[in-house]
Amino acid sequence: MIKKLLLFLAVITFAASSFAAAKNSIQVKGSDTMVNLGQAWAEKYMETNPGDFVAVTGGGSGTGFSSLISGTCDIAMSSRNIKEKEMALAKGKGINPNEIKVALDGLAVVVNPKNPVSKLTTAQLAGIFTGRIKNWKELGGNDGRIVLLSREVNSGTHVYFKEHVLRENNPNSREEFSPAALMLSSSQAIADEVAGNPDAIGYYGMGYISNKQKPVMVAGDEKSEYEAPTIENVISGKYPISRPLFIYTNGQPQGLVKKFVDFCLSKEGQEIVLATDFVPIEK
């Protein structure tokens, strides 16, 4: 019995010491949109810096901020700016969120490839997602009720789409997603549903487009050109729905965190941005 107990204690101390040894590790958490990018950065970084360990998890931009505030991650990835409430909460806990812009993302609006509609203005998109336009017929498509797909409210993409498309950048607007919109928990779930449903329309970061979905060409208003969500169009600013992607650190990055952030902003890091279908920031 005592022997067993001793063995058990030995195992515990060993496990604890190996955790303590893992001091050169960083926890990165947040935006689902950025998980693939974060993962690619982490892999490349660990390749060039063996011995350092970077763990990347998703969960949504809000999840990232609450982890940063509660001190369970070192870097929060976010597809939106930090909210005032979150800032106040962080300050209250002695955390000082520091914003670093790391990439740009074009938001693609996607439909099923069988859907004949391929061009929409942002005003039409607002009409569709608020529920004023209910049938594809009204947009020159087939007769069929539009099935709205949205991300859950913990998604930065949801918030961005609401503020910049539904409310057309007007902070006083009271527009909301139609209550009939289906709330799916990941970009992949939206991609799958659009691929299988000819009446569905959804939105997500450009990186998730595959040949099973058709990205719609979007114009800012009726007079402007309809543009496809491509990297060139996002860099030139022609594509109307694009947003910056951020990482947040506690105070100015230091030590290992600084090393990782510098890597993300380096030429090599920005090449990874391009390789994961996001848009590099200008240097």
Binding site: G59, G60, G62, T63, S66, K83, K85, E86, L89, G144, R145, I146, V147, E152, V153, N154, V159, R174, E176, P179, A180, A181, L182, M183, L184, S185, E193, G196, N197, D199, A200
Partner: protein, 287 residues
């Protein structure tokens, strides 16, 4: 020495007994503390009967009527599917099945209870959802009905095993008496066994429903989560449980949204408490 040992064991068991009650009370107090804070911002009636759920807007709209109706609709659907099948299965196992198939059936049903709900949800997503979409020519298969069917699978093991126990514990003499009077097997089951076991069967049904209303993962994956008052069982719904699970990660601690999620927890707690008490009353009536 022996007495001392006896004493220690007795006290240990007492502590275990008290601990479980203590934890329930603590959890309930925590829920109340966090949930009731909401009513500084929103009137209780507006919360319960408000028709819009837009928790992250400024100002937030926190009406949970669509969520309550969503939960009730999915539960009702699951009850309609699982009660007849579950009770029928219990009768077959308790009365009709030969000893051998009885063992196999019981083992199978216990296995059904062991499938994690996320797995059922996933299976539902890839098989049931497209099936329902094509069957009813719907714009989407992510509907209350899909949730009901999947939840029925989850309620069935509870209903079958408790109802079977109830039927089995009906005294043998009742059955023999009925046979002696010349009743057929079916007449005996319908007129003697079912009424005699009715309170146990009712308890089985209540406990099954209790399991359904608290289920989260599977419904979140296959009901579409649209916070709209459901017009039919073929429309998407958002349940109370899925709302808490989907939004807790985002809610800023100390915000109205955060308190609202706890208030939803209270509503859920009250609903399942009521169901469990009813089930308990049914069981005790029997004795």
């Amino acid at each position: 020495m022996r007495k001392l040992k006896e004493f220690i064991v007795e006290k240990l068991i007492l502590i275990c007994g008290i601990a479980s009650i203590f934890f329930v009370v603590l959890i309930f107090l925590f829920l109340l503390k966090e949930g009731l804070a909401l009513f500084k911002f929103v009137k209780p009636l507006e919360f319960l009967f408000g028709k819009s759920w837009y928790p992250i807007s400024e100002p937030p709209q926190l009406g949970i009527l669509p969520l309550i109706l969503g939960s009730l609709l999915v539960t009702l659907g699951a009850a309609v599917i699982s009660i007849p099948i579950g009770v029928g299965c219990a009768i077959y196992i308790a009365e009709i099945a030969p000893a051998r198939s009885k063992e196999v059936l019981k083992a199978g049903i216990e296995l059904l209870a062991a499938i994690p709900s996320v797995v059922l949800g996933f299976i539902g997503m890839v098989t049931l959802v497209p099936l329902i979409k094509n069957l009813f020519h719907l714009p989407t298969g992510l509907t209350a009905l899909s949730g009901s069917v999947m939840l029925a699978f989850m309620a069935m093991p509870t209903i079958v095993s408790i109802a079977e126990d109830a039927l089995y514990s009906v005294p043998k003499s009742y059955k023999e008496g009925a046979f002696a009077l010349g009743a057929t097997h079916w007449q005996t089951i319908r007129r003697v066994l079912l009424p005699a076991a009715s309170s146990g069967i009712l308890a089985a049904v209540m406990l099954g429903i209790g399991r359904v209303i608290g289920e989260t993962m599977a419904v979140m994956m296959i009901t579409g989560n649209a916070a709209v008052i459901p017009q039919s069982i073929l429309a998407p719904v958002r349940t109370l449980t899925a709302t808490i699970a989907a939004e807790m990660g985002e809610a800023v601690v100390g915000s109205e949204h955060y308190f609202a999620l706890f208030a939803i927890g209270i509503v859920l707690f009250i609903i399942s408490f009521a169901i469990n008490v009813t089930a308990d009353l049914c069981l005790h009536k029997k004795r």
